[in-house]
């Protein structure tokens, strides 16, 4: 399971063989990533990756046990990238409202530049392929960035009071309350944070998949509206 993680890439290579193995593993990953960006996950073929590298397709199986494992490697890589995009777009010294908009746009910009990678992360999972459990903590980087901003706002000037419908506490997994900024949030706030994260991912997917064609005229402006509306729903003070 996930053989590529434990040979060559993680441990420092000792022998020439291990060095060559790590090198080739990286090359395979790089070519696969390039092809993913061009033709998308369904079109990614282990054989064509092998062709690009001038090697027999069977040889690739020494590095990745299956096409799914290769896809998992790209999944991890992409999760880290979108996490970095979110964290990198955050300006901790700015006011929470601007940080919020910045992170939303950061994620959107990464998605626009990496459409197929985004689809791999947040799109329809390929039937028969279950993402390994390991990825959940990497996947949390992006939503945690959002949570941090709201937590900072709460600790700072406070959040505006919420007057909308209430969420049944049993709906939320108790572990989430702990995970998000170590209990800085109420159940109600946690529920709205989950919704906000869900909506950020959803609206970008809509834009990317063409579902907003003939619906919106200016996708960036509509996205900005969604970002502000979502931030306001959490108690951030826009306008």
């Amino acid at each position: 399971m996930l053989s590529f993680l434990y040979t060559g890439l993680m441990n420092a290579p000792r022998t020439a063989r291990e060095r060559a193995r790590a090198e080739l593993t990286r090359e395979i990953l790089a070519t696969a990533r390039r092809q993913l960006g061009e033709v998308g996950a369904p079109g990614l073929s282990l054989r064509s990756v092998a062709r690009d590298l001038g090697m027999a397709s069977s040889a690739v199986y020494r590095y990745f046990a299956s096409r799914d494992e290769l896809l998992t490697a790209l999944l991890i890589e992409s999760y880290n990238e979108v996490g970095e995009a979110a964290e990198g777009a955050d300006r901790p010294k700015a006011v929470p409202e601007n940080r919020w908009i910045g992170v939303w746009n950061g994620v959107r910009n990464w998605a626009l530049a990496n459409r197929h990678e985004y689809a791999l992360l947040f799109g329809t999972p390929v039937p028969g392929y279950a993402a390994p459990h390991l990825t959940t903590e990497i996947a949390a980087r992006m939503p945690l960035t959002l949570a941090r901003i709201v937590a900072d706002a709460k600790r700072g000037n406070g959040l505006r009071p919420y007057t909308g419908p209430e969420c049944d506490p049993s709906a939320i997994d108790p572990a989430m309350l702990v995970l998000l900024e170590e209990g800085a949030f109420t159940v109600e706030e946690t529920a709205r944070l989950i919704l906000a994260w869900n909506r950020l991912v959803g609206i970008i997917g809509y834009e990317l998949h063409g579902h907003l064609n003939n619906v919106t005229a200016d996708d960036a402006a509509f996205f900005d509206y969604a970002a502000r509306a979502e931030g306001a729903n959490l108690g951030l003070a826009f306008d």
Copy 2:
């Protein structure tokens, strides 16, 4: 283009051959639909459909020009079904708040019972496959059901005032204002309706694709919360 629409199924069959053609077209579609429900769109194979029907794979091409065209037929079928599910769940004589919740749950229930069909409609599009323009009006049935409820509420007791961020009017396609209940809504309301539709589809997709694992504890309760929150955002009067 879309040959299956114009032979046999639409026009009334006149000769025995045309009748047989319409019959076989329906059988192909039915087995394809069954396989779609079992293995999902990526696993749907024209050859295996032919095998199930005891015919040569090449014969199927006389009825559907390509796998994509077969998928398009299933797409249209599914769009109509989810539209019917939404419309069928609406109780026009009930109060708008209950109608709203009912339609949301109607769509969710259809999605839970037809996961792969839902993924085909709202999931990641297969690269290289563009849904034909024809489907857009069929696709509008579900969001229009939502719009109708809000429009009725607006004409009735009115909507609660909205105090959140405003949407740049240029973000919305002007045609949408006309499409939605023939101009019953302001730009602001239209923007929130689009968001609500987007969020309904998004949260169901999240639940279906397992992204809510370890996040929510009771998916139905969380969905109910999302439905109420979204209705309230549009000015419906919950609680």
